[in-house]
């Protein structure tokens, strides 16, 4: 396989990571909503933790985007 095509295939495979991060971020917000609707009184106090979880899940998806960009434009 030519290196150029291998790079593009690798970048495409890295997009799987973005989809996985979508599952993760959806899980964070979904779980938050599910429990927030059970106990709305406690929901506001947990917003900081919600965004910490969101940031952690999102970072890993963004890393896969970085991998794709490095494969296409840098490597």
């Amino acid at each position: 396989m030519e290196p150029a095509s291998a790079k593009l295939i690798g970048a495409g495979l890295a997009a799987i990571g973005a989809g996985m991060a979508a599952i993760g971020v959806g899980n964070v917000f979904g779980s938050f909503l599910e429990s927030a609707l059970r106990n709305p009184g406690a929901a506001d106090g947990q917003q900081g933790r919600l965004f910490i979880g969101f940031a952690a899940a999102e970072l890993l998806g963004l890393l896969s985007f970085v991998v794709a960009m490095i494969l296409i434009f840098v490597a």
Binding site: G48, F51, I52, F54, A55, L59, L62, F65, V66
Partner: protein, 261 residues
């Protein structure tokens, strides 16, 4: 189709010297006034004007003062929830950080390209966000060592760790502490860059489809355009969330330095 001019989605991130300052140098380093610097300046000036309009200290706040006070109150709440009463002294830093990033993200999204001015989102560069992250990290280190001395290293060994686990936990906690500035800067930079690349790619679909005839315009351009409007709304949300996450994580790290969990 493949022989047409290829759209380069990374072109919008080019840093170029403005106003003929490209040969300015200081100690052998180029200090040209770039478009990145210009938009940093614009963000700072707009932020200054925004704050100035809300600092009239009227007894009955008007709309503008209400807007500014909501922002300061928001950050103050975040600091008092995450750091406690010691958090108040970091309010100026965290507030400036939050507002500067927020204004930079939002100004970079302005559709000024319609009138020929191309906004530059300097938060889509790791050099800019990395320095902001290093500033936060430096504050954590300085405060931690100033306040606790070498006891600060107990941050890496949580309470109640069994003795055999201490070397392993210490290394893991140390590594997770040391990658903080990278993850902090990387998150903001990649989130902004990804959004702008996505908008650029979608706009190239719109133009390319319209150029290829009426059929492709209906099939490709119009759905892409509708998607682009939705993504623009999403990008405004992301601009706010990323600024918030940056400030939130900074306040969490400051909490570690103040209280050593």
């Amino acid at each position: 189709m493949a022989t047409e001019a290829k759209v380069d989605p990374m072109h919008q991130f080019t840093i170029e010297p403005l106003f003929g300052t490209d040969h300015w140098a200081l100690g052998g380093f180029n200090i040209a006034f770039t478009n990145s610097a210009l938009w940093m300046l614009i963000s700072a000036v707009v932020l200054y004007a925004f704050m100035l309009g809300g600092m009239k200290r009227e007894l009955v706040p008007g709309r503008w003062q209400m807007m500014v006070e909501t922002m300061t109150g928001f950050i103050e709440n975040m600091l008092s929830a995450n750091v406690g009463k010691e958090g108040r002294k970091y309010l100026p830093y965290v507030f400036s950080l939050f507002m500067f990033i927020l204004f930079a993200n939002l100004l970079g999204l302005l559709p000024l390209g319609l009138v020929g001015v191309h906004p530059f989102t300097f938060t889509s560069h790791f050099t800019a966000t990395g320095v902001l992250a290093i500033m936060s990290f430096a504050i954590v280190l300085v405060v931690g060592f100033w306040k606790h001395g070498f006891h600060f290293f107990s941050l890496f060994v949580p309470h109640g760790t069994p003795l055999p686990m201490i070397p392993l936990i210490f290394v893991i906690e140390l590594v997770s502490f040391l990658v903080r500035p990278f993850s902090l800067g990387l998150r903001l930079f990649v989130a902004m860059m990804a959004g702008h690349v996505l908008l650029e790619v979608l706009s190239s679909f719109v133009i390319g489809g319209a150029n290829a005839g009426a059929f492709f315009m209906g099939l490709v351009s119009i759905p892409s355009f509708i998607l682009m409007v939705a993504i623009c709304a999403l990008e405004i949300l992301v601009a706010g969330i990323q600024a918030y996450v940056f400030a939130l994580l900074t306040s969490l790290y400051i909490n570690d330095a103040e209280h050593l969990h």
